[in-house]
């Protein structure tokens, strides 16, 4: 596919989601003309650029919808639920067309035809009732017609370029009513006659509503090779051209010798007649025109303000990725500069280095900011999902969104879409009860799903909550035991039980409510979230509902980190999770008697010894440091040799080869060129927990 088609598809998808959201809003307030205009604009652009880039199917299909919306815009057809349903369906069809540019299945074709027919029916119904009004409209439109005389004399060798003048004439005929006269150049010498030369010339009288430029376009490829003259005979005056056209026809046909100069005489005669009529009319028109310009002026001003508000620039995401890469490299170089300036301690150098540091930080924040997009677009897609799915299941569900303006990295938003769809489906499918059941429980029959996004440090918290039946810990536990995920006598907190539903092979869809076939597993959600280096938390209360919280890092490219050293290798902690650092002496370790707990101002914090975990050799220093972090609302310490300090961390993936090493989420390059590994604390903790459980089991 060429780049233009790709650009069109991207644009069309955006427009479709815009269309959908305005449709859904229209459903609530059908009278809102702004919304109608928005929908119409979206449709119009989809159609227009579709035709331009060769998506004929889409253009043709969208044209039908546009026709209806044109009437809607003029207030002639009312917005009904039926119309909105139909339009939403056609959005889906357009999406299918966009996806399968090569071919569409017969099924979709049929569906498309059905939709077109229903749209046509709507228009027809309307037209039948108001046919007279319509006629007026049409008459008005026709009044733009003008009468043009075109003289067309191609060069003799025009055939050599492969042009067939008759085709051009055909095309002109397609633009309106035309009388065409052909004449052969009488001065040909029979001896020199060359059958491959063109000796003909034409005069065409055309009645059309096209502009002169459009007519000229017909001749665009032969312009240099012909003599072409345009002459307006009359224009605009209501009905006058009609009469004149006929008059002209009569006049022309009455000529015995139909040659071009005669015709031209004929035309000028008629023009004189009509000129008087025109001047009269002109006076009346002038005053009308003045009024019109005033109206136009105000319109233009309005447009201006519109365009100022939306002066956005479309940039391909690859370019942005490249920019972020470059900024990342710059950050790396900058930290090298800082290191060197600290080493030499020259006043001037330090000044420059500090300046560069400030600029780089600004640049980084800006570059990352460009990639940030409000999550609202994604939220808007879900209202459609909720609407369709609740209708399908016969439930009444309302979607409330909050914090749509919360900004997230574009890549993160894209990757969030799928897990959120899964979660919302689950909410509707299993969370929200049927209306009667809800009434029995004393709840409103209309269920509410709330989708909210809020910033929290370097992360974004996305909450999907419903006021449905909630999770049943007993049931979950029983299933988990049956499936062999946990042992029978495992003691689990409620929170841990809820986490079980995210384990692979534990699909709520199949096990808890027996609505199977969807195959929606929460483990899919977990995988996607983990890829984003995020985490998931579930809270639920019977009959009150379930709250699922996703914690997602703002960006995937650069984070603030805490650089530490263990033996000769460097590691990075995500700074947002680090709470404090304390010292740990060998004595203290001895005193604790094998318990891996640090005493932090009176409270015990369990710690993980990274040296042990990663099996790092080297001398253990007398005093080690414990980095206290807070992960999932738990305080966990990590033992390191030395805490070095904050570090702007440009995350580099370890690549496919190391994709199974979950505890390391990436690497970054330090100022002196050495690599530091970025720790995934959540995974490290999980690993430690599993090991402890195993050890405990072994002891028993």
């Amino acid at each position: 596919m060429d780049i233009h088609s790709e650009a069109y598809i991207a644009e069309a998808e955006e427009l479709l989601s815009e269309l959908e959201s305005s449709l859904l809003e229209l459903e609530i307030s059908p009278e809102d003309t702004d919304l109608i205009n928005r929908a119409f604009r979206a449709l119009h652009t989809i159609k227009g650029s579709g035709a331009m880039f060769g998506f004929e199917d889409i253009a043709r299909f969208t044209h039908e919808i546009e026709t209806v919306f044109d009437f809607v815009r003029d207030g002639k057809i009312k917005i009904t639920k039926e119309l909105i349903n139909l339009t939403l369906q056609s959005c889906d069809i357009i999406k299918i067309f966009l996806k399968n540019t090569e071919q569409t299945s017969a099924e979709d074709e049929i569906k498309a035809i059905q939709i077109v027919n229903s749209f046509r029916k709507m228009v027809k119904e309307y037209c039948e009732t108001e046919i007279e009004k319509n006629n007026e409209e049409i008459a008005k439109e026709i009044s733009n017609e003008k009468l043009i005389n075109i003289f067309f004399k191609p060069e003799q060798n025009i055939f050599l370029t492969g042009t067939n003048p008759l085709c051009l004439l055909e095309e002109l005929k397609g633009m309106g009513a035309a009388i065409i006269f052909g004449e052969i150049n009488s001065k040909i010498n029979p001896d020199e006659f060359n059958p491959e030369y063109c000796y003909a010339e034409w005069s065409i009288i055309l009645r059309t509503d096209r502009t002169e430029n459009e007519i000229r376009d017909v001749f665009i490829f032969v312009e240099d090779q012909c003599e072409l003259r345009f002459e307006k005979i009359a224009e605009k005056e209501e009905n006058v051209p009609d009469v004149k056209f006929e008059e002209l026809c009569e006049c022309v046909f009455s000529l015995s010798n139909k040659n071009i100069s005669d015709i031209e005489n004929c035309i000028s005669k008629i023009r004189k007649q009509s000129d008087c009529a025109i001047t009269e009319k002109n006076e009346i028109q002038q005053s009308a025109a003045e009024k019109e310009t005033e109206v136009n002026k105000s319109k233009k001003e309005k447009n201006k303000s519109n365009s100022a508000a939306g002066s956005n620039l479309k940039v391909s995401s690859e370019k942005l990725d490249r920019l972020v890469d470059l900024v990342g490299e710059l950050v790396t170089v900058q930290s090298r500069l800082t290191q060197i300036s600290a080493k030499y301690n020259l006043h001037d150098l330090t000044l420059i280095s500090e300046e560069v540091e400030r600029l780089t930080t600004d640049l980084r924040d800006n570059a990352m900011g460009i990639r940030m997009m409000p999550i609202g677009n994604t939220f808007a897609n879900f209202s459609r999902l909720v609407r369709d799915l609740s209708n399908e299941l016969g439930k009444m569900v309302e979607l409330q969104t909050e914090g749509a303006e919360t900004e997230l990295d574009k890549t993160v938003i894209d990757k969030l879409n799928e897990p959120l769809v899964h979660l919302i489906r689950n909410c509707i499918d299993h969370g929200i009860e049927m209306p009667e059941e809800r009434r029995k429980k004393g709840k409103s029959t209309r269920g509410v799903i709330k989708l909210s996004a809020v910033h929290s440090g370097g992360d974004v918290l996305i909450k999907v909550s419903d006021d449905g039946a909630g999770l049943n810990p007993e049931k979950i536990k029983k299933k988990a035991v049956d499936k062999g995920i946990i042992s029978k006598d495992a003691e689990l907190t409620e929170n841990e039980i809820f986490q079980l539903i995210t384990k692979p092979g534990f699909s709520t869809a199949e096990n808890i409510t027996n609505i199977s076939g969807r195959g929606v597993g929460t483990d899919v959600v977990i995988k996607a979230i983990e890829n984003l280096r995020g985490s998931l938390d579930i809270k639920s209360e019977a009959d009150k509902g379930t709250v699922i919280t996703l914690r997602i890092p703002l960006t995937l490219a650069i984070i603030e980190g805490l650089l530490v050293k263990i033996s000769s290798s460097y590691y990075i902690f995500p700074l947002s999770t680090v709470k404090e650092c304390v010292e740990l002496t060998k004595d203290e370790i001895k005193k604790s008697g094998g318990r891996k707990m640090a005493n932090v101002r009176g409270s015990l914090v369990p710690y993980i010894n990274i040296r042990e975990k990663f099996n790092i050799d080297g001398q253990v220093p007398e005093i080690q440091q414990v980095v206290i972090t807070e992960v999932n609302e738990r305080r966990i310490g990590f033992i390191v040799d030395q805490v070095i300090g904050e570090h702007q961390t440009v995350i580099k993936s370890l690549g496919k080869v190391y994709k199974n090493i979950k505890e390391i989420s990436g690497a970054t390059i330090l100022g002196d060129g050495t690599l530091a590994l970025i720790l995934d604390l959540l995974k490290l903790i999980e690993w430690e927990e599993n090991d402890s459980v195993n050890n405990y089991g072994r002891l028993q």
Binding site: F614, G655, V657, N660, I661, E663, I664, L677, N694
Partner: protein
Amino acid sequence: MSIPAITETKPYLSFNLDEEIFAVDVAKVHEVLEFTTITKIPRVPDFMSGVINLRGSVVPVIDLRMKFGLSKTERTIDTCIIVLEISIEGEKIVIGALADSVQEVFDIEPHQIEPAPNIGNRYKANFIMGMGKRDENFIMILDIDKIFSSEELEVFQEAGSSELSGTSETQSNNS
């Protein structure tokens, strides 16, 4: 007897592992680096040496000797890292391979290459595309994509995880 996969005369880069001479298609070689610091990655089998910083990008390095069942590469003045571009499941990946020393680039004609014998070969026959001959030495031409094929990677991942769940003490981490 020649190999169907090799039909044209191509230049190869030869290098040493232990006493033996190996060769790879030059088209796969990005560059040859001097030995630099390798950052270890925890929880991987021994032959995955770690990662290096190659002008700002992170490149994994493997110890070819260990992959072929020889002892760990000892660092000498000749030790170098051959940076190769391989494809895993259709994806192009840049990877570094440790070699004891790099020799030369030379052409081998197809008729000089014979299939590797399955018997009497201490290396997995899959990895060897063919045996070339130069002067009196046999040169093993490596099928570099196969060495890093996804199955081979899976093997290492399983090996890695089993090693972990058992005693992680067997992993050596000194550089």
